[in-house]
């Protein structure tokens, strides 16, 4: 139980720090007078550092402006068959700027160098990237006889899990399946309310509990009811959690175990990833894969300027395929992932 030690270490240090500060105060400053509230400063904003104006950083902006054309420049090298240092540098820049990451970018460059570019650099790069995205992307809605299929949604805070569930509920509803939503996010304030609104919008059933309730029991309840009512699919929400906390991941493993118990059967565990996320997405994927056996990724917020290149690294390293992408706020703005389109947008073609 190192726990106790940790707590005590903290307590000791803080206690000592505190005693120290207090002693010092007593010695140095005789009376600690609370600042008078009435005396409001007359100046509206006084800063310790002067605020630079909008145009104060022209060099950087220029550089960024020039780099915006990078994706276009890839096309300009389409015809060349010889790999020059400049071209490789350009490819590197494109990949790095798309959040593909240093390691994967180096690997891709290595492959590019080894294979050469008989049909142009852009084409060669396209082939390499597409090879990285060869995973099986179909989703399953069928469980064993007599069991209810469950899709479990996992991810860090604020990536759009609840919204994704709402959109997928619509999708399944349109496909003629009856859907039950399980409000397994019992931590975030009003998360269940948010899901309930989606349930209303998509004409689905929902099971929810009070804030702070055990997420496993909510999911269990939902499955039980779905089974009794003969519902086709359960979509189970979970609370957003950071991927570097063993406790939170253990809790998630438990939710998955509960969901996978008869009459439920987890047929998909979807990791929801925000396309604006950088290299941390890789460790998110690794941790959630270990904790909950992720079967696919939903890449959200791809309608912004972010390109979400990190999913290339994730599929190469961990073999988790992207299955859906979110491209807007509308209820129909969740589409099936298509590698060709994704790679083309990555390369600015």
């Amino acid at each position: 139980m190192t726990v106790l030690y940790v707590v005590l270490a903290v307590a000791v240090v803080l206690g000592l720090v505190f005693v120290g500060t207090r002693r010092r105060r007593r010695r140095g400053r005789p009376a600690l007078v609370a600042p008078p509230r009435a005396a409001m400063p007359e100046i509206l904003v006084a800063e310790t550092a002067p605020m630079p104006s909008l145009e104060r950083v022209p060099t950087l902006n220029e550089r960024l402006a020039s780099s915006r054309g990078v994706f276009d420049r890839v096309r300009s090298i389409a015809g060349t068959t010889e790999l020059s240092g400049d071209q490789l540098a350009l490819v590197e820049e494109v990949l790095l700027r798309s959040d593909v990451g240093v390691t994967t970018t180096s690997a891709v460059l290595e492959e590019l160098r080894a294979k050469g570019a008989p049909n142009g650099v852009a084409a060669a790069l396209r082939v390499i990237l597409l090879e990285s995205l060869r995973g099986e992307r179909s989703t399953s809605t069928a469980a064993d006889e007599g069991r209810v299929p469950v899709w479990l949604f996992v991810g860090v805070n604020g990536v759009g899990k609840t919204t994704t569930i709402g959109k997928l509920a619509k999708r399944h509803h349109d496909a003629g399946r009856s859907v039950m939503l399980a409000a397994g996010d019992t931590f975030r304030a009003a998360a269940a309310d948010q899901l309930e609104q989606w349930a209303t919008r998509t004409d689905s059933d929902i099971v929810r509990a009070n804030e702070g309730a055990d997420p496993g029991s909510v999911v269990h309840d939902a499955i039980g009811r779905a089974s009794a009512r003969g519902i086709d699919l359960v979509l189970a929400d979970t609370a957003g959690r950071r991927a570097n906390s063993t406790n939170l991941l253990d809790e998630l493993s438990k939710v998955r175990r509960v969901a996978d118990r008869d009459p439920g059967q987890v047929v998909e565990t979807l990791l929801v990833l925000d396309a604006t996320t950088g290299q941390n997405a890789l460790s998110q994927a690794r941790e959630f894969l270990a904790a909950s056996g992720v079967t696919g990724i939903v890449l959200t917020k791809l309608d912004g300027t972010a390109r979400g290149g990190i999913v290339v690294a994730i599929e190469r390293d961990l073999g988790i395929p992207v299955k859906f992408v979110g491209v807007g706020e509308g209820v129909d703005d969740l589409i099936v992932f298509e590698p060709e389109i994704f790679v083309d947008s990555l390369l600015g073609a």
């Binding site: 106790l4 803080l14 600042p35 309608d303």
Partner: protein, 494 residues
Amino acid sequence: MFDALSERLERLSTSLRSRGRLSDADLDEALSDVRSALLEADVELGVVRAFVEAVRERLSGEVLAQSLTPGQQVIKAVHEQLIEVLGASPLKVTFAAKPPTVVLLAGLQGAGKTTAAAKLAAWFKQQGRQPYLIAADLQRPAAIEQLRVLAQQVGVDVFSEPSNPLDVARHGLAEATRLGRDVVIIDTAGRLAIDEALMDEVRAIADATSPDYTFLVIDAVTGQDAVHTARSFHEALELSGLIVTKLDYDARGGAVLSALGVVGRPVVFASSGEKIADFDLFYPERMASRILGMGDVLSLIEQAERTMDADVVAESAGRMMSGTFTLDDFLAQLGQVRKMGSLGGLMKLMPGVTKEMRTAASNVDEGELDRVEAIVRSMTPKERRDPAIIDGSRRTRIAKGSATSVSAVNQLLKQFNEMKKMMRQMGGGGAPALPGGLGRMAGLAARASARNDQLPAGFEALGAGMASAASTPRGGGGKNKKKKGGRVTPPKQR
């Protein structure tokens, strides 16, 4: 990654030193490490280039200091440059002469605006202000409800009405003025920077409420896109600063550097956890140190001062030093520490703490702490004062009373005794010094005290305490000996 970076740079051949200065080739090698480290940390490519060039300028031709290895020299330059980019001094939040002071929060979806709004309200309340929250996020289902629940936790009122964001903001502001609130925080819907209609909307809100502060809330896990977001929001709203969230993730937070590089405005607040208390002003120098894995004593002290009950802590800490620490004191300390926020967050701030300890702390189950508390609370006052009298039957009773097992009670008592022994040693000044933790702690204390007279006396004892605390749980395992044992500068007593 910065841990990895410092390790990598440490490995730079020490033979370089004989040459007296870094050659261009050495520099290239070191800087290419710096470059990939920054890229792995999600710093935007353009910003990385500028940063690396600046570090090169700092280093090129510089005579190597005798006391530093070339690797350390590079780290020092990186650290200095980090501080420079992160902003030399924090933006000071002042209040409008004619209240209310209006604060507008904007950002992408899922960056953490609503949570940040509630935390910011709590922060203002702590400053003795009367904040008022306006829920102008009518986009996301239940966003208003979320803000309400959070605001209730911090005891702040929320304004909202089912109209449109612009009207909500306008009416909310009028209502705040009527109620005589002096700070108004407007939470807006998350929006993409390329969504013209929504950007126009937030601009209209800004025009109607003329905020004193406009903050972009940005997520520490953001990748290369941080620059686009920051620039677009800055162009639309003219930001006064940034609020960075999710610093408790294991992300490196390079997005902070990217956004700053583009916007040129300071990061004002940092949020590092799900608890309301995990929120503070952003201190560039501290952040740079924290990024480089050097701990952050100043934040820790401030957080302690804000949340802890001074008298309770001082009293039991005094007894701690004299070796008459009782289980009652332990309980009091535990309660105080828990008030400060998550243990993991605290340990991150503490210098000289090994990575293993940090992981252990962030994985501490709050339930585990509840059990410890329950055990102590199941003891009679007499038992708490003098645990030696706890015999077999008392143990059984305590175990039953706390719904734990006898072995849990035993374990607690055993570790409490060890802890006490250790504290007595510390009080007597005979702490077994651990070079790494102590050295870093002492160095930090000396550096900090050079610029801040708020630092406590008795820092040496503190460093020693931390060191022995850190060494005990591993049962004397040698692996937590830090490699940089050498440079121990005794802290200056002022």
